[in-house]
Symmetry: C2
Amino acid sequence: MKATRNTTAKTAVLEIFEKSKTALSHSEIQKQLNDVCDRVTIYRILDRLVNDDIVHKISNLDGTVKYAKCNHSNQRVHIHNHAHFSCENCHEITCLENVKPSYIMPHNYKVKEINFTLSGLCPNCLNSNI
Amino acid sequence: MKATRNTTAKTAVLEIFEKSKTALSHSEIQKQLNDVCDRVTIYRILDRLVNDDIVHKISNLDGTVKYAKCNHSNQRVHIHNHAHFSCENCHEITCLENVKPSYIMPHNYKVKEINFTLSGLCPNCLNSNI
DNA sequence: AATTTTATCGCAACAATGTTGCAATTGATA
DNA sequence: TATCAATTGCAACATTGTTGCGATAAAATT
Ligand SMILES: [Zn+2]
Ligand SMILES: [Zn+2]
Ligand SMILES: [Zn+2]
Ligand SMILES: [Zn+2]
């Protein structure tokens, strides 16, 4: 595989992920970046980070796509089988690293990736009594 | 709630769902409709069908969004907790009505919807030995 | 430290997908 | 058949993601 370079834009993106407790969309990252780089560059950085297993992609029921840092890059088999929670009120998406679905598949399917997203109200919004 | 009307466009869309064994994207529906109605109308019909619990929306890891007919519209509590399989080769998405994930949530989350999508190779493509 | 290599970037142009406002149409009901 | 509101078409727009290519800059080599 090709060597990946540590550019200023990539470093800036990683810092944003580091600071964030929730998953981020392309446009949220763009806002926080304050023109550090072009829109297109962000797409390419995200692609690279996903490829390098540094970040994982989360696609939500409403069609939005977000990204979050992986907290398990050390595992031998790198698979994102944890759940994600998407709050319908504040629209924040968080990784639930400890929630992993169990299920029984019919044979003759080969499963490579899973996407398990729950939506509803997060603890914050639930307390605010919407 | 407002009354929903049976228009020719809506009927045509429903017939397409009836004939299809897999989930359909907006553009796939548009192709099959052969200019029965405008692009925008299809979006609005899909919105209505989802609202009326006749069709459910499936969002895939690659960012595509598809729709499939519900086979359980009679249930009291209408929830789509079955899995979907998305083939990375033929890009078909099918409902696996019998595959339902079990999981343990932390309390203080209120879960209203779940989206459980598996991807990999479907039986067809697995046999074709890609 | 200068040179070389090539991954990355910026820009412009494009494609796909989804949304909104409003006047015209049409399904349902009386 | 007349009425009324749900639905439609159209045009215009917004957002999201992609591609090609010459310019730039990271990092390996000299
Ligand atoms: Zn919330
Ligand atoms: Zn996650
Ligand atoms: Zn397949
Ligand atoms: Zn389904």
